[in-house]
């Protein structure tokens, strides 16, 4: 926040320099302006992400050779636990809704803020508190949790490490997520500008809407589950402890009833970002708007019904396994619909390969690999073989990192110029992209292979036959991290010192954020707009437009927008 440069745009005061009740740091951390809250989240997000990346780096460093490399087994267990907790609860789940949803949802629907701005600020406070608790848990006596981010019973009630702190952190973070979802649903229902019917809403808003429902309905389940473990550890009630009659499998059910839908909280907004970027940089109307809108709802719905596919090898009944395997196959369908529609949008478009587009295209590629391997895992016979191996690790990194992570990077490159009124270096951004993309695949693809060959996940040590894959993977992590460093240096430097941007429509988009000032004013809109058409009405590359233009040229002028 201290680096927020004063930016005057055409005589308008931007939200960055708006004078409210407070000044300085207080004007940020007590702000109820959705845009400032989005920036606050961004700061927290990137900080926690950096910590998570460091842990990932350390994991890969340890695994470059069998046996002990840089740490002992206990430390290793804690590092991968925290890597998971931080990345999942502090980066990927909040990520897009908290930063870009907060910043752009009201603007995209023509509103001046969200429905409950003070609740929004509370969400951020909960997020930061949860994050700090998770970090503090590393430093307290007892050491950081070593249970894996899944906190499986019975180890999570037996281990002497700081499970309580970590769980309570996750509980607060869940609360933050719930309140954001609550805010967004109400905002979308109640605050759309006149004329903006549901089917004139941008697809990012549809994505946020579907996500918000999952946030509201699924998150409380992990809330109660975490609470129960806390109560179990503190009071010994015996609800999960097998020694007292508890059922560890029931814990897993409860855990995954949230944690599977959680991955859709992660991916659906990212798909929304891709749906925004593709039309702009292909200069074509999105293909199948309604299909994409409804598929977001479909993913939210079906995604809530498949959780036990994480438990195929624990001793479920045959009927249960069959049901969940079938539902898992079904959930792939709405995702595939999106991929088809994006691809169809690209067809005959004029593709501009600016950085946002590079990341959007990478998303489609990486997410497809991740998604298809997910379908593989849905097959019971296959999953018995590859569950708890590096194959699974590769799968979820392709979807969560190659999917949501890349979606976040795409959103950063797409929207940051609008948020800050400055441009980053596009050439450097592209260089960073390629380091990232090559590093990513080098890091994670070998995990598919070694997982297939039997390399277990979360293992500190391994047999010599896996060494080559681990070595390639670790080198990949270095290339990837180099890419990240270049990317973030470029973005941060760009936003602080890059050339100023004052044009409203930086990329040529059709959604409302590109019709307002850069950076936006405090109120977003001088007057709430009246909406008359949909958000992707690109006239170029549409047959009717080309016809109309040629008619015009022939003197038969046709009114076209």
């Amino acid at each position: 926040m201290s680096q927020a440069a004063v930016i005057h745009t055409n005589g308008h005061t931007s939200y960055l320099e708006h004078k409210g009740k407070y000044s300085g740091l207080k004007s940020w951390i007590f702000s109820t302006d959705h845009k400032r809250i989005g920036i606050l989240y961004l700061t927290g997000l990137l900080t926690f992400y950096a910590v998570g990346v460091v842990f990932g780096f350390l994991i890969r460093l340890e695994l470059i050779a069998p046996g002990r490399t840089i740490m002992d087994a206990q430390t290793y267990n804690s590092i991968f636990t925290l890597h998971g907790v931080i990345m999942i609860f502090l980066f990927v789940i909040p990520g897009l809704p908290a930063v870009f949803g907060n910043f752009f949802l009201p603007i995209m629907i023509g509103a001046k803020d969200v429905a409950f701005p003070r609740l929004n600020l509370l969400s951020w406070w909960l997020y930061i508190t949860g994050g700090l608790l998770a970090i503090i848990s590393i430093l307290l006596p007892g050491g950081p949790a070593d249970t894996g981010w899944t906190f499986y019973i019975p180890y999570s009630i037996r281990t002497g490490t700081n499970v309580l702190f970590t769980m309570f952190a996750a509980f607060l973070l869940g609360f933050s997520s719930i309140l954001t979802g609550l805010n967004f649903i109400t905002t979308i229902h109640r605050m759309r500008a006149p004329g903006m019917g549901w089917f004139k809403m941008p697809l990012f808003s549809w994505a946020l809407y579907a996500t918000a429902w999952i946030q509201i309905l699924a998150t409380p389940i992990i809330g109660i589950t975490l609470l129960l473990i806390i109560v179990e550890r503190v009071l010994g009630v015996g609800l999960f402890d097998p020694a007292l009659g508890g059922d560890p499998i029931l814990y897993q059910h409860l855990f995954w009833i949230y944690s599977h839908p959680a991955v859709y909280i992660m991916i659906v907004p990212a798909m929304g970002v891709v749906s925004e970027i593709i039309p702009v940089f292909a200069r074509r109307t999105i293909f199948g708007y309604k299909f994409i809108a409804f598929s977001s709802i479909g993913i939210a719905l079906f995604g809530s019904l498949v959780w036990a596919h994480h438990m195929f090898a624990v001793g479920m009944s045959d009927t249960g396994q069959f049901v969940f395997s079938l539902l898992t196959f079904l959930v792939a369908i709405p995702s595939a619909i999106k991929v088809f529609n994006w691809t169809a949008t690209l067809y005959k478009g004029s593709i501009q390969l600016d950085p946002p587009m590079l990341y959007a295209l990478a998303f489609i590629f990486l997410f497809s690999i991740g998604g298809l391997t997910g379908v593989m895992q849905g097959a019971l016979s296959v999953d018995i073989h590859i569950t708890d191996t590096a194959f699974i690790v590769a799968h979820f990194h392709y979807v969560m990192f190659g999917g949501t992570g890349v979606g976040i990077f795409a959103a950063l490159h797409y929207w940051m110029p609008k948020m800050f009124g400055r441009m980053y270096n596009k050439k450097v951004a592209k260089v960073a992209f390629w380091f990232f993309f090559i590093g990513f695949n080098t890091l994670y693809f070998p995990m598919f292979v070694m997982g297939w060959l039997g390399m277990p996940r979360r293992y500190y040590d391994y047999l010599p036959e896996y060494t080559i894959y681990h070595q390639i993977s670790t080198v990949g992590s270095w290339i990837l991290i180099l890419g990240l460093i270049i990317m973030f240096t470029n973005l941060i430097r760009g936003m602080r010192k890059g050339p100023k941007v004052t044009e409203k429509n930086i990329w040529g988009g059709e959604t409302l954020e590109w019709q307002i000032e850069t950076p936006p004013t405090h109120e977003n809109f001088a007057e709430i707009p009246v909406i008359t058409e949909g958000p992707y009405e690109y006239k170029q590359n549409e047959p009717e437009y080309e016809e109309a233009v040629s008619h015009e040229e022939n003197g038969k002028g046709k009114e076209f927008k």
């Binding site: 429905a115 003070r118 609550l182 109640r190 509201i216 009630v237 609800l239 059922d247 409860l254």
Partner: protein
């Protein structure tokens, strides 16, 4: 003390110009869904464990007094009535009547909690609490039953307490005319919360007290 504006975060003037009661109620309903799912998780636990420990649950439930449970149910149902009546009263501009109904609601909540206190004390005095010698000597199914009992009625009780505080705050607002005939959505929201707490008990009661 400044008058709290409805949840729009704007200046007082703007806030009143852009007040949206439907949004406020919608927000509270969405929050109630999270409570439904929070307790829902516990009901899932109860269902599975009961399915697998039918007899033990039956035996353990004999410790619970059906009459006290039924009495508590009646108390909570009545408190829901008085809550609804308090809103009807303010709609008719009957400020003091609304205040009285709100205070009765809180008093009934207190009555519920006092009953709960006695129930728990009785069990604890019989040695029936987590990790006690008596508890650990019981059948696994019974340990689970009591674990669920304490956690579910405990969490519910916590919500009753929160509700009582919430309604008391609303009573204060009503007395100060912040809640009035033309602006009572806060009271409605508090009412919605209270009714949900009642609904949860409506399900807790038969599952713990009526399975003998």
């Amino acid at each position: 003390m400044s008058i709290p504006a409805p949840f729009t975060g704007k200046t007082e003037h703007e806030a009143h110009a852009h007040r949206d009661d439907i949004a406020s109620r919608m927000g509270m309903w969405l929050f109630l869904f999270t409570e439904l799912l929070l307790f829902g998780g516990l009901f899932f636990l109860y269902s599975v464990y009961r399915y697998e420990n039918k007899e033990a649950f039956h035996d353990a439930a004999r410790e619970l007094d059906t009459l006290i449970g039924a009495f508590n149910t009646a108390i909570l149902l009545t408190s829901s009535l008085t809550m609804a009546l308090s809103i009807a009263a303010i709609q008719k501009n009957k400020k003091m009547l609304s205040v009285v109904f709100q205070m009765i609601t809180v008093a009934l909540g207190l009555g519920f909690m006092i009953n709960k206190y006695f129930e728990w004390s009785l069990k604890i005095s019989h040695g029936l609490y987590p990790k006690s010698e008596v508890m650990l000597s019981l059948d696994h199914g019974e340990i689970i039953f009591f674990g669920l009992y304490y956690v579910m009625t405990g969490l519910h009780g916590l919500h009753v307490l929160v509700g009582m505080v919430l309604i008391s705050v609303m009573t204060n607002f009503t007395l100060k005319n912040i809640i009035n005939r033309d602006n009572y959505v806060k009271l409605e929201a508090a009412g919605l919360y209270w009714h949900l707490v009642d609904i949860i008990w409506i399900f807790l009661f038969p599952l713990f007290y009526l399975i003998t």
